[in-house]
Symmetry: C2
């Protein structure tokens, strides 16, 4: 082997070794020539599992799913050119969803840049402000200097450190390589440089903050906790304990982890998306103080309800960033949410049930009863019923992944809080319908529980390529495909009243696809159901069989709007003074 | 309708009207809510055809294909969020391939930016330096001021002007919109502001440049013209005329337009990719001056040949940019290539055939004969034979679209120059294997001739989603799918000697897909051939039937390397002194 190959091994091998040392255990690798040094040294490292993918877009979303499910940084590797550009949608998602990724792109060396060379694009800051950190590596020298080896180790350590510091997110390292691209055989790294430790401890609140906040919150008569999507598995217990101490109801987003599990859920309000559409009910529920955790909740009625009361004290607790599109926050606390919840709970004396809290819980129960009664009287395949049906079908410890657009909204409205150990996930960074299949498969690859994905047909089509990973990597995924042949959510918007031809051309966009041959082409099983009885059997069979299972629920876009509006009407009726009397 | 809806119509309608006035006749529109004002006003404009697509990545590549085939700017529209990020690979390609695109993205207004609002990402300079121009529009005011209407018109005119100025490329306009998103009914634009004209005339060479260059070129004994990929349909005739006047051979890339057609092809050299692999032949062909036009040619042996003679005068003629990865140019002339060729041809006296030129033409003929003889003796489904077979099957006026990686290289080596009106195209901006199906379908949508796409299986898989457009828009496309179940080009690289398991994991990446159900799922016809006789029949049937037709040629990756090397060996043997004697 040449000196150049030795240099490659020393520099890139050290880099890979430090990545593994920093906790990178999984890397999604896409084939390419220029990326050969990284691909080969990642593949041979005993601490790293390589997941190969042929479509970089799907690969990157798979990585997002894996990283989010595991709560640890995952690597991506693409060769030079548009390959790297295909990572972009998933990187945007990861940045907003706070998912740690180490994005590695191979590049041509300087002499081939910006000169029309093949497969050479400008990869400097390729992802713009959508990554937390970018660095353009020097091309490994034939005779790798100690300086360059040291730099490779430092950059790997900084990459992991930066990706995992709160708020977490993707980082990008660009690696120019010259030929030869094949690293020499040998050890993973030089033994001369010790590995590097980077630590990012949680941001703990000061005693002063705890004291003043606990005093203020204890005094409030009409307090609320709103818990939006987040990824801290231990936050739900802490939030539940704080709510109990303060006597506040918790408006728990389905992606907050607070709705499901064995923790104290007696103060959980889970039906607000339905009852906060009802104006008279909103007037009964004027808050004095709102404590908000996590990302903005899924429910638009909840957002509108909060904005209706800008004079209340709105306290936003977040380790960093500015997730406050409502524009009403009065206090933004940049501390670790769990640490603050625990410290506050230690500080405040337990509070008795208040009429305020009882009202919330009663309205919530009445709403859930009204929804259940309404769905019980409905035999047809209504999209909202999917989640109500799944509630009794999903095994404990399961991950329920909801696609964007309608599924995650239906999840919010129709899946009631329960003690089952159900983890709900979704792609709520940018709320895209893209890459959802791959994100769910990446979640499956994490091995944290059986994954059931509920997804609409346009979103399913968008990432059909992602299904290859199910077969390639022998993964289990049960997909509930809600197929209304087009963009169902647009039927809820004013343009649904435009002329039908224009609406169908631009928004309805029926594709007319029968997904069976696609699913079967990827080695999956496809079942189209005609009734909830079929559905129950198909989901049961699918879970028992494993592999890729797709259960299609055919629905109609216009009818879906009607049925949703009937539910909201039924809830309003149940909450009207006449009904309460 | 509200004042806001009137304002929307006035501002956005004026913008759309000026786009159409500037020559935008086609816009690829992807469904979304935030983009409603643009989508509706584009769809109703009588001068604009809207092509809806459900996957933004495929939509954008479709737009690239359409714009390149028509030689005119094409619009893209995406809603806010990751939808817009999915355009990125095609925008990178368009920028490097110099394809004019008007990229429109809908955005949230300022108060919802960078605050965790749904479907809101940072769209300012979303595509970085990969677009020629970016502008963030102001959100249309409820009472649209004359100033805002004027600005909308100016920005549309500038967008088209910038995209079509040499070197052409994509521009990006970001449009924040507030609700309501439905424009009022009414006229397309206000009648108050005249439409705007922007003109970008070709860069004509000065008399001084023409005089000095014609003198120098006339004197050179061993001159060459190298014509790489470009999109000017009238350049081939001009190049042929210049070559005739100078007595220079033309090394014509298959994507140069010079290899095929009724123009004078007597000085065209088309087999250099094969004979410039032969060291003794290279020594016979030392150039004194090289005139280069277009992008870097496809052939790596040609590039290496040119780099072998850095002391020669290398004159690069290009309207702009710096397409010179070889690092050997001695003169870079930023003028319109066609204008310069014509002016030079007018200036120089016709030259007699020189021994230099005869040698090139003889070596070329001997090479073509050797290749033909070798292929004639080969019955099996060799990838290189695909283009030799197609030569006699393609109808006149056809567009032959070659995928990247192996197909475009095989096109170069195996498709001989001819008088047939064949237009060869490929995605040679960044040479990606992504988006190729969609680019070919966009080419078909241009209506410039029947399109035959030759593509490898990994590239076909990468853009399977693109096939939806064939059905959705009733397009014809004949696909010759060269299926070697993985990344065939890697078998030519040194890593093919690595251990087989690692090679297959990282580079070979077999997917094992049977593409039949996918093609049939998109309403296409799929035929797998077993012989060249089958192949001829299938291509003939496919062309006769129209619609989406896929003819699969199954091959083997390792065997393909062997067969290519046999061809090069046969060429070297034919060119050896022993053979010439």
């Amino acid at each position: 082997m040449s000196a150049a190959s030795q240099g490659l091994r020393l520099v890139v091998g050290t880099f890979v070794d430090q990545l593994a040392h920093g906790g990178v255990r999984h890397v999604c690798v896409c084939p390419g020539s220029r990326s050969t040094p990284l691909a080969m040294l990642l593949a041979e490292h005993p601490g790293i599992r390589v997941w190969t993918h042929l479509d970089e877009r799907s690969a990157a979303f798979f990585g997002v799913g894996l990283a989010r499910a595991l709560g640890e940084p995952v690597g991506l590797l693409a060769t030079s050119g548009t390959a790297a550009a295909n990572f972009f949608p998933a990187i945007v998602e990861a940045n907003l969803a706070r998912v740690p990724l180490i994005v590695l792109t191979a590049d041509r060396p300087h002499e081939l840049r910006d000169s029309g060379a093949p497969q050479t694009i400008d990869q400097l800051r390729l992802y713009g402000g959508h990554v937390k950190w970018f660095f353009d590596q020097p091309a490994p020298e034939p005779q790798a200097s100690a300086e360059q080896v040291r730099l490779a180790r430092v950059l790997a350590a900084r990459a992991v450190g930066s990706a995992t510091a709160e708020p977490r997110g993707p980082v990008h390292l660009n690696w120019p390589f010259r030929e030869p691209l094949l690293p020499a055989a040998g050890h993973h790294a030089d033994g001369q440089h010790a590995s590097l430790e980077v630590r990012n401890p949680a941001l703990t609140p000061t005693q002063e903050l705890i004291a003043s906040l606990s005093r203020d919150l204890s005094r409030a008569k009409r307090g609320l906790i709103v818990c939006g999507p987040h990824e801290d598995a231990e936050l739900p217990t802490a939030v539940a304990r704080l709510a109990r101490c303060l006597g506040y109801p918790i408006l728990a987003d389905p992606l907050s982890g607070v709705r499901f599990g064995e923790h104290d859920r007696s103060l959980v309000v889970d039906a607000y998306d339905a009852f906060l559409r009802d104006a008279p009910t909103i007037e009964r529920l004027q808050p004095e103080v709102v404590v908000r955790l996590g990302a903005i909740p899924t429910s638009k009625p909840l957002a509108q309800y909060l904005q209706r009361f800008p004079a209340a004290r709105h306290i936003l607790i977040d380790a960093g960033g500015w997730r406050e599109p409502l524009g009403i926050a009065s206090d933004v606390l940049h501390v670790d949410p769990r640490a603050l919840c625990e410290a506050l709970a230690d500080e405040v004396a337990a509070s008795a049930a208040s009429p305020w809290t009882s009202t919330w819980l009663e309205v919530n129960s009445a709403t859930r009863r009204a929804i259940r009664r309404h769905l019980d009287g409905l035999d047809e395949l209504f999209e909202g019923s999917v989640f109500a049906q799944l509630a009794s079908l999903l095994p404990d410890g399961c991950v329920l992944y909801a696609g964007n657009s309608m599924p995650v909204r239906d999840l919010d409205t129709f899946l009631a809080s329960s003690s089952s150990a159900l983890r709900c996930m979704s792609s709520r960074g940018a709320n895209g319908i893209d890459g959802v299949v791959s994100s769910a498969l990446g979640t499956s690859a994490a091995g944290v529980g059986r994954v059931v994905l509920v997804i609409g047909d346009v979103s399913f089509y968008h990432d059909l390529n992602g299904l290859l990973a199910a077969r390639r990597h022998g993964l289990d995924l049960l997909v509930v495909l809600v197929n209304n042949d087009g963009g169902g959510i647009f039927s809820f918007l004013p343009q649904a009243q435009a002329d039908a031809a224009t609406f169908e051309l631009l928004f309805g966009t029926p594709h007319g696809l029968d997904f069976r041959p696609f699913v079967e082409g990827y080695g999956g099983r496809f079942v189209r159901v005609r009734s909830w009885q079929d559905f129950g059997a198909a989901v049961g069979d699918g879970l028992a069989q494993g592999g890729l299972q797709v259960v299609e629920v055919p629905t109609d876009r216009a009818r879906n709007v009607t049925l949703h509006r009937q539910v909201w009407r039924a809830v309003a009726d149940a909450l009207s003074p006449a009904a309460v009397c």
